[in-house]
Symmetry: C2
Subunit: 911 residues, 2 copies
C-alpha cells in the first residue's frame, strides 16, 4: 500500500525537505530539520493526498490510512516513552495544517491533544503545577470544541469571562487552578448541551477529530479567499502534522517565540523576532501580552538563546535563504517547531538576494531567481510611511490599479484639477475617466475612480504615466454639481468636499482622509542597481522597451533601463489642450482641402514631439504608431450634446453661457452650432467603437492623416540626425486585419520617407522600418501574408485579448468578479496574458510571420508586456522584446532574465 504517513524525530525522518508536494511546507521542514539533527519534538505527517481523499470519501479517512496513522502513533509513543493521554507521564500532541504553500493562520491548529479527566491529573502531578495542567485542559476543550465540534467561540469566551468577573480577575493569569477547574466543568457542560454528547475522553477519538478538523479547514472561507488571492490551486490539499507537545508555559524557564534570520521588511542582516516567557504559541500572536524583542532572550536564557542563534543560522545556510522559524523552550530546553523560507517585502527581497550572493551563500543566478518580478513594484514608486497610516481615517478601499502613494487635495473634474494643481498637489476623483480627462490626470498626483477595473481607461493611462491609481472604489458616490463625494464607511457617511486632503495607496487600494507621509523610491543606486545589472547579464539580447508618448516619459523610461520605445501612441499628443482644437477642425472639415489645412497645423507640433522622443532615445529604436482611436473620441459626447440641445430652448442666460463655453461657441451661435455639431457627432457615432472606424481604417479612409504623421516623423528624423542623434524609427500601422490594409498604408509611409530622407541626402544613413500591430485575430491568422509586407510585428495584446475573448475591457468588470468567484477566470485576462487562448493566436502569428520573413522583429506592446508570467511567455514564443509602461521596465527586465535562466535550465534538462 502507498505510504501516507511519514514519521520524523530522533535524529531521522521518513521524508525530507524536497517533499513539499507530499508533506506540505511545514512537514517537509520538520523532516529536514530532524535529519539535520536540529532538536524538534518528534511526530508524523499525514500526506496532502489524504486531504483530497478525505473530501472525495465523504469527509472520512479510509481505514487503511488510519491504520498507518495508528502505527506511526505507536512508534512515536515508543520514542517518547509515553502513552497518548494516559499513564503518569501522558503524551500530548499538537495537530497543525501545512500545505505546500504557506497560508499563515488560514487553517486550524489544535494543541494539547490527549488531555482528559485522567491525564490532566497526571500532568498536574508530573509538572507539580496544577494550574498549568488545568490551563492546558481548558485550552484544549476550547480549541477542540470550536474547530472540531463547531461550537461558537463566543460561548466559551462567555464562560471564561463570567468566571473572571466572578473572581474579579483582570488577566487570564489571575485565575487560579480552582477557577480553571470550574471553567473546565462549565466547558464540558457546554459541549454536552451543544453536541448532545460528552466531551470525548478517548485520546484516539480526539486525534481523529482534530485531524479531520484540520482537513475541513482547507475549505473554510478564509482559506478559500487566501488561495484565490495568492493563486494557490484548490487541488493541492493540506497535510496534517501531528507532533509531540512541548510546553512554553511551564514557568519562568519556559517560553515560546517566532523569528527571522534577517529583517523581512528591509532585508538587513539582523536576527529578528519576538518571544514570551511562560506562554504557549498562540499567546505570542493573540496580542493579550506584548512579546519581548528576541535580543532580550540572550539575557533571560543565554544558553537557549545561543543555541537558537546557532541553529537558525545553520538552517539559513542549509536552506540558503532567510528563515522564518518558531521555537519553544520547555524548562530551559530549546525545541524548534518550524522553519521555512521567510516571506519578505520587495526591498528586503532585493537586499537579501544581493547580500547572500555577496556572502557566497548563493550564486548570481539564484540571486536573480530569488526576487519575484512583481516584488520590484514596491521599490519603484513612492510609498507611504507605514507608521503615519496607523492613525489615519480610512475612507474606502478600491481596486489597486497603479502602485505608489499619493497625497493631494480632491478635484472632481480635469479642469478643476488643472486649476488647483497650480497651488497644491491634487488627487483627481472621477466616476470614471475618459480621454477628455488626460490633462487632469497629467497634473494629478493620483487618480481615484468609483467605477472601472484594472484595465479601465483610468488604470491604463495612470500606469502609463506611472501615476498611482485606484479604480472601482464603489462606495464613493460623486456629485459633480455640488463638487462633493459621499463615502459610506463603517455605517456612517463621510462627505469629502473639493479641496479636502486625501491620501491614496495605489499598491493596496486604500484611501485615507488627510495627509499621510510618503517616502521616495531610489532606483539608481544600492542593492537594486546591482541586482538589476545582474539580471541584465542573464537577460542577454532579449530587449525591454517602454511605452511612452512624450519626451518626458521617454526620459523616465531610459532611467528605468528601457532600450527603446515599443509604443508611442500619437493620439495622446492629439488630446493636448493646444492641439485638440486643430484635431477637431480636422474632423469637422467637410473637404479634403480643409482637412489638410488643419493637419498642416498639427504637423509642426507632432514633428517636435517626435524629435524629442528620438533625442531621448538616442541610439535606440522608437516605434511610432499612426493614429488609432475613432475620431468621435476627440469630439464632445453625443448624449451630452443631445441633452444640451433639448434643454437649449428652456435655458437661462447662465446655462447658455456655460454651454457656449463647453462647446467653444458664442451664445448666439448655439442655436445653429449645436445641431450642426450633433449632426457630425451622429455621423461618427458608433455602436461598438472598439470594432469600428479606427486604427488603419482611419488612415485608409483619410490617407492625408497618415501622410501628415509620416511627414512629421521623417522631418523629425532629419532634424535630430543633423544634431548627431542616432535615430532608429519604426513606423507602426495599427489594427491591421489583412496584408492589403497594411500595403496601402506602407506605400504612403515609404513614399514620404524616401522623399524626405532623399531630399536631406541621408537615405543611406537612417534605417527605418514599417511594421504592424497584431491586435485583431485575423492579422494573427494571416500573419504569413502580412509579414510579406510588414518588417516588424508588435502584439497589441490589450485589443487582441478583447477581440479573441469577445470581451470589452471597458465593460467586463460588470461580471468579472462573478467570473473570478466561479474560477472561469483564473486571473484578470487584461492583467495576465491568457496563454491558452490569446497566447495560441500569438504563437500562430509569430510562427506564421517568421515563416514568411525569417528576421521579422517581433515584440509586444500591450499591458501584458510588463507582467512577469506574460513576459516569460513572450520570451518562450521567441519574441525579440517586450514593451511596457516606464515604471514596469525593471519588472520586465527581471522577468525576462528569469525566463532566460529557466529556458536554459529547461534546455539543459531536455538535451
Amino acid at each position: 500500500m502507498k505510504k501516507y504517513v511519514y514519521a520524523f524525530g530522533g535524529g531521522t525522518a521518513d521524508g525530507d525537505g524536497s517533499m513539499k508536494d507530499i508533506l506540505g511546507g511545514k512537514g517537509a521542514g520538520l523532516a529536514e530539520m530532524c535529519r539535520a539533527g536540529v532538536p524538534c519534538p518528534p511526530g508524523f505527517t499525514i500526506a496532502t493526498d489524504v486531504c483530497n481523499i478525505f473530501f472525495k470519501n465523504n469527509r472520512r479517512v479510509p481505514h487503511e490510512i488510519n491504520e498507518q496513522m495508528w502505527t506511526a502513533l505507536e512508534k512515536l509513543e515508543a520514542l517518547m516513552g509515553q502513552k497518548l493521554g494516559a499513564g503518569d507521564n501522558p503524551l500530548l500532541l499538537s495537530v497543525r495544517s501545512g500545505a505546500k504553500f504557506s497560508m499563515p493562520g488560514m487553517m486550524n491548529t489544535i494543541l494539547n491533544l490527549g488531555m482528559n479527566d485522567q491525564s490532566v491529573e497526571a500532568l498536574s502531578k508530573k509538572s507539580g503545577n496544577p494550574r498549568f495542567a488545568y490551563d492546558c485542559y481548558r485550552r484544549f476543550i476550547q480549541m477542540y470544541g470550536e474547530v472540531a465540534l463547531n461550537i461558537e467561540m463566543e460561548k466559551f469566551d462567555h464562560i471564561f469571562d463570567a468566571r473572571k468577573a466572578k473572581v474579579k480577575a483582570k488577566l487570564d493569569t489571575d485565575l487560579n487552578a480552582a477557577d480553571l477547574h470550574a471553567i473546565i466543568k462549565d466547558y464540558k457542560a457546554l459541549v454536552k448541551k451543544e453536541t448532545k454528547k460528552e466531551f470525548p475522553q478517548d485520546p484516539c477519538d480526539q486525534l481523529v477529530g482534530s485531524r479531520d478538523a484540520v482537513f475541513n479547514s482547507w475549505w473554510n472561507p478564509k482559506a478559500n479567499y487566501y488561495r484565490k488571492m495568492e493563486k494557490i490551486p484548490d487541488s493541492i490539499g493540506t497535510a496534517a502534522n501531528i507532533q509531540a507537545m512541548v510546553f512554553g508555559n511551564m514557568g519562568q524557564n519556559s517560553g515560546t517565540g517566532v523569528g527571522f534570520t534577517r529583517d523581512p521588511g528591509s532585508g538587513e542582516k539582523a536576527f529578528y523576532g519576538e518571544y514570551l516567557i511562560d506562554a504557549q504559541g498562540e499567546d505570542v500572536v493573540a496580542g493579550i501580552r506584548t512579546p519581548e524583542p528576541i535580543s532580550q532572550l540572550g539575557d533571560a536564557m543565554p544558553a537557549a538563546y545561543k543555541q537558537l542563534v546557532e541553529i537558525t543560522s545553520s538552517l539559513e545556510k542549509h536552506y540558503k535563504d532567510m528563515q522564518d522559524f518558531e521555537f519553544t523552550i520547555q524548562e530551559g530546553k530549546l525545541y524548534m517547531l518550524q522553519t521555512r523560507n521567510g516571506k519578505r517585502t520587495g526591498p528586503a527581497a532585493v537586499r537579501l538576494a544581493v547580500e547572500m550572493c555577496e556572502e557566497r551563500l548563493i550564486d548570481k543566478k539564484t540571486a536573480v531567481m530569488r526576487v519575484a518580478p512583481s516584488q520590484l513594484d514596491q521599490l519603484l514608486h513612492p510609498v507611504f510611511d507605514g507608521a503615519s497610516l496607523k492613525t489615519a481615517t480610512k475612507l474606502t478601499k478600491g481596486i489597486a490599479a497603479s502602485p505608489g502613494a499619493a497625497v493631494g487635495r480632491v478635484a472632481f473634474s480635469a479642469e478643476d484639477a488643472v486649476e488647483a494643481s497650480k497651488k497644491s498637489p491634487v488627487i483627481l476623483v472621477r466616476r470614471e475617466t475618459t480621454p477628455d480627462d488626460i490633462h487632469g490626470m497629467d497634473v494629478a498626483k493620483g487618480i481615484l475612480t468609483a467605477i472601472g477595473g484594472k484595465s479601465s481607461h483610468a488604470a491604463v493611462v495612470a500606469r502609463g504615466m506611472g501615476r498611482p491609481c485606484i479604480v472601482g472604489a464603489s462606495t464613493v458616490v460623486i456629485n459633480e454639481k455640488t463638487k462633493t463625494a459621499t463615502v459610506e464607511s463603517g455605517g456612517k457617511k463621510i462627505v469629502v468636499k473639493e479641496g479636502d486632503w486625501i491620501s491614496m495607496d495605489g499598491t493596496t487600494g486604500d484611501v485615507y482622509l488627510g495627509q499621510a507621509k510618503t517616502k521616495e523610491a531610489d532606483v539608481k543606486s544600492g542593492h537594486l542597481a546591482k541586482f538589476m545589472a545582474w539580471a541584465d547579464e542573464f537577460r542577454g539580447k532579449f530587449g525591454v522597451r517602454a511605452n511612452a508618448d512624450i519626451p518626458r516619459d521617454a526620459q523616465v523610461a531610459r532611467q528605468f533601463g528601457a532600450e527603446g520605445i515599443g509604443l508611442c501612441r500619437t493620439e495622446h499628443m492629439f488630446f493636448a489642450e493646444d492641439r485638440l482644437p486643430f484635431v477637431q477642425q480636422m474632423i469637422l472639415a467637410k473637404t479634403e482641402k480643409d482637412r489638410k489645412k488643419a493637419l498642416g497645423k498639427l504637423l509642426p507640433m507632432q514633428r517636435k514631439d517626435f524629435a524629442g522622443l528620438f533625442t531621448a532615445m538616442n541610439g535606440f529604436p522608437v516605434v511610432i504608431r499612426t493614429l488609432d482611436p475613432p475620431l468621435h473620441e476627440f469630439l464632445p459626447k453625443r448624449e451630452n450634446l443631445m441633452v444640451d440641445l433639448a434643454v437649449l430652448p428652456h435655458a437661462d442666460a447662465k446655462t447658455k453661457k456655460e454651454m457656449a463655453s463647453r462647446y467653444s461657441m458664442s451664445v448666439g451661435d448655439l442655436k445653429k452650432g449645436l445641431p450642426a455639431l450633433l449632426e457630425r457627432v451622429e455621423e461618427l457615432h458608433e455602436f461598438n467603437p472598439m470594432l469600428g472606424h479606427r486604427g488603419c481604417r482611419l488612415g485608409i479612409t483619410y490617407p492625408e492623416i497618415t501622410a501628415m504623421q509620416a511627414q512629421a516623423i521623417f522631418e523629425a528624423v532629419v532634424q535630430v540626425h543633423k544634431k548627431g542623434v542616432k535615430v532608429i524609427p519604426e513606423v507602426m500601422i495599427p489594427l491591421i486585419g489583412s496584408v492589403q490594409e497594411f500595403a496601402h498604408q506602407k506605400e504612403i509611409v515609404v513614399k514620404i520617407a524616401e522623399d524626405v530622407l532623399g531630399k536631406a541626402g541621408i537615405k543611406n544613413q537612417v534605417h527605418y522600418m514599417v511594421g504592424t500591430m497584431i491586435e485583431v485575430p485575423r492579422a494573427a491568422l494571416t500573419a504569413d501574408k502580412v509579414a510579406e509586407q510588414a518588417e516588424f510585428f508588435s502584439f497589441g495584446t490589450n485589443d487582441l485579448t478583447q477581440t479573441t475573448m469577445g470581451l470589452s475591457r471597458d465593460d467586463y468588470t460588470k461580471f468579472s468578479a462573478h467570473y473570478e468567484d466561479l474560477k472561469i477566470f483564473t486571473a484578470d485576462p487584461f492583467g495576465v496574458l491568457d496563454q491558452e487562448g490569446v497566447g495560441k493566436l500569438v504563437k500562430i502569428a509569430v510562427d506564421g510571420g517568421r515563416s514568411a520573413r525569417k528576421d521579422l522583429e517581433v515584440g509586444i506592446c500591450g499591458e501584458h508586456g510588463g507582467e512577469p508570467s506574460s513576459v516569460e511567455f513572450c520570451f518562450r514564443v521567441g519574441m525579440d522584446y517586450v514593451s511596457c509602461s516606464p515604471y514596469r521596465v525593471p519588472i520586465a527586465r527581471l522577468a525576462a532574465a528569469q525566463a532566460a535562466i529557466a529556458d536554459k535550465s529547461e534546455a539543459g534538462r531536455t538535451s
Copy 2:
C-alpha cells in the same frame, strides 16, 4: 517562342473552345465554331497574356509578338485573297475585346479597320455603293479617333450633327455620299487638330493602334466597375480578336442581329432575338432604329433564317447549353460572329436545366451544376411585374438587403405600422431599425431604412423574416415628428407622407412611388420542385436547417425543405409586445426573488413557443439558443432617457403625457421614475455591447434565466411528446469563450432536463443534447477543451466575423465602400464568409472539436449559412449541416448539392 497569336477560319482553327483562359470567351468560341464548320469570317486572336505583357511593358506589345501578328495577317490575306486596306478588293477588319468572362459592352470595339483614302474608293467601286463606302470610312475615323486617339466623341458628333443640320437631314440615312465625304474631310481635320498628326493612312498602324486601344480599355472605369461587381479578377486580361469584316449594311439583302436559342427570361424553348436589315452591329444596340423580332427574318430571308436556326441549334447541342449569338448577313450570305452560353434569369436557369436534362442534352449532375444557387433567390420571393414598373416614378435606390417585391403605405414608426397594418399593407420606413421595432417589422410588407448595410439590424431581421428590405437609402431624410420623408430625386425634392403608397424591390434596391403590381413565387411545383429534388439526391446526408424563432417561421422553413431548426433565438420571443413588460420587470428586479417572479411569468409563454416549434419540426432537430443580447436592449435607450429627464422640468402637460406613455408610467411618477429607470439603464450601459455582458455571461451571472429557459424547453418537450410528436431538442449556449463557462451552463440545463424528463418518465424516449455556439475566437482556439463538454458546435459566423476581424457589423458600413473600392474587401465579409481569416479559425475549431469528440455534430447558423460559397466551405471543412433563414433554404440545399458534386469529382481526380 511561345505562341501568342491563334488563327481561325477556313474550316479550321489553331485554338478550340476549351482555351478560354488563353483566347478569351469570344476567341475560344470563334475557334470552336470554325472547327465545327460554322460559317464565320476568318481572323486571328491575340492571347490574353499579351494584354498583361502590354501593361507590364509600358503599354507596348513586344516586337516578337508583333511579328506573330503580321504573320497571321499575311495568312488571313492569303485566305481571303485580299490585302488589308489595299488594292481593288481591300480587306477590312474588326478588332474586338474578349476576356475569359463576358463583360458585355465594357471594352472597346473597332470596325472597318483598313479604311483609308485609297481603300474607300476601291470599296466604293467594288460595292457599287459610294454611300456605303464613305459611311464605313467615317464610322472608322470616328471609332478610331475616339478609342485609339482619345478624341471626345462629342466633337465628332458635333461635326456630324452640323452637317445634318446644314443639309436639313432628319435621319443619318438621309445623308448622301457627298455629305459623308464632307464629314470625312471635317473628321480628318479634327484628328489633325487634336493629335497634331494626320489621320493614319497605313492600315498596319491602324491595326496596332486599334489593338492597343482594346487592351487599354481593360482598365477603363466601366470595365473596372464591372469586374468588381462580377468579381472578375483584374489579372486575367482580355484577348483581342481581329477578324475580317462582313457587312450587314450592304443593302436590303444584308442585315445583322443577335439572338438566343431559348428565352433567357423564362427559359422557354423558343428561338429568341432581333435583327435589322441593312445595318452594322452597333445599330442594333444603339437604339436609333427599332430592331425586328427574329421570327420575321424567316419571311425576309428564308434561306438565311433556316441556316441560322440550324446552325444555332447545332451550336446549342455542341455546347450543351443555351446560346447567345451574333450574326451578320452580307448580301444573303450568313456569317456567325459570336456564340456563347447565354446569361439567364433565375427562373430561366432552372427551367433550362430541367428541360435540357429531360431532352437528354445534359445529365442530372450537369443540370444541378447549371444553376447558380444565388439565382434561386429570384424564384423564392414575390416579384414585380416588370411592365408596371416602366411607368412608375422612381423614388430612390438603396442597398438590396432582402429580396422580393413589396407594396404598402408608408409608416414611420413601429407603432404606426402596427396600427396601419390593420387596415392596409404597410412599408416601414426608418432611419435604422432596432430590436424595439420588431413588432413593426413583423407586420410590415417591406422595410426601408436610410442608413445601414447588408448586415444591419434591419437587413438581418428582414432576411430572417423573409421580408423584402432595402437599407442604406441615403437620399431619404426622415422627419419622425412631421411623419414625412424628403427624397432628393433627379434634382427635385419629393416629400413622402405617412400613408402614401410606395413599392420597393428588395432584389434590386429600387423604390417607386405608388402601387406597382406583383406576382407570387411558386416553389412547390413545376420545374423548381423537380430541380430541387434532383439537387437533394446529390446533397446526400449533409443537412440544411433553418433559423426560425417562432412556429410560423418554422412552418415556412419546412415548406422550403428545412430539415430542422439550426437556430431559435429565444430573445426574439422576449421582444413580443405581451412579454416585454415582464422582461423589463425581470431586468429591473432588485433581488433574485423578484427576478424569479418575473421569469415565472415568462415561463409559460416560452413553453408555448417551444411546443409550437417542436410540433412544426416533428422528427427533426430543433436548436434552441439561450438568451443572448445584453439586457439593456430590452430597456429604453439611455440617451433618450437623458434627454427626457433634462426636458422634464420644462415640459408641458402634453409632452409629459407622451413621456408617461413612452415609459409606461403615470405622469405623477415621472419625476421619481425617470431617474430610477435611468440609473438602472446607466448601470447596464456598455461602451461595446457586442463585447459586453451578453450570451452565456448573462446565464452565468443570472443562472435563474438559463434555468427558466431550460424548464420551458423540457416542459414543452414533455407536452408535445405526449401528443406523439418526435422531439429532438438541442440546447445551445451562446458566446462561450472557455469550457468552464460552458460547463457552468450545461450543469444547469442537464439538471433541469433530467428532472423534468425524469418526472414525466420519458428519460429514455427523448434524446437531447447540450452544445455551444462558436462565435468568439477563443472558443475556436480551445475547441478541443470545449468539445470535452459540448455535444455539438454551431458556428455563429456573424459574431465570429466581427471578433476575428475586429469589425462591428453595425459600424463597418462607414468605411466598407472605401474598402471595396481599394479591393481590401473582395466581398462583404458579413455576406460571404472570409475563408482566409475566419475560415481558418472555423477549421481549427472543427478539427479541435472532433479531436476530442469524434461524433461531434457541427453546423453553422450565421448569415453565411445561406450563402453559396460559404456553404461550399462548410461542406469542405466537414460540417454536418448549415442553417439559414427559411427563404434561403433552397439556395443552401443547391449550394450543398453542388459542393458534394465538386467534392466527388475532386476526389475522383486525386484518387
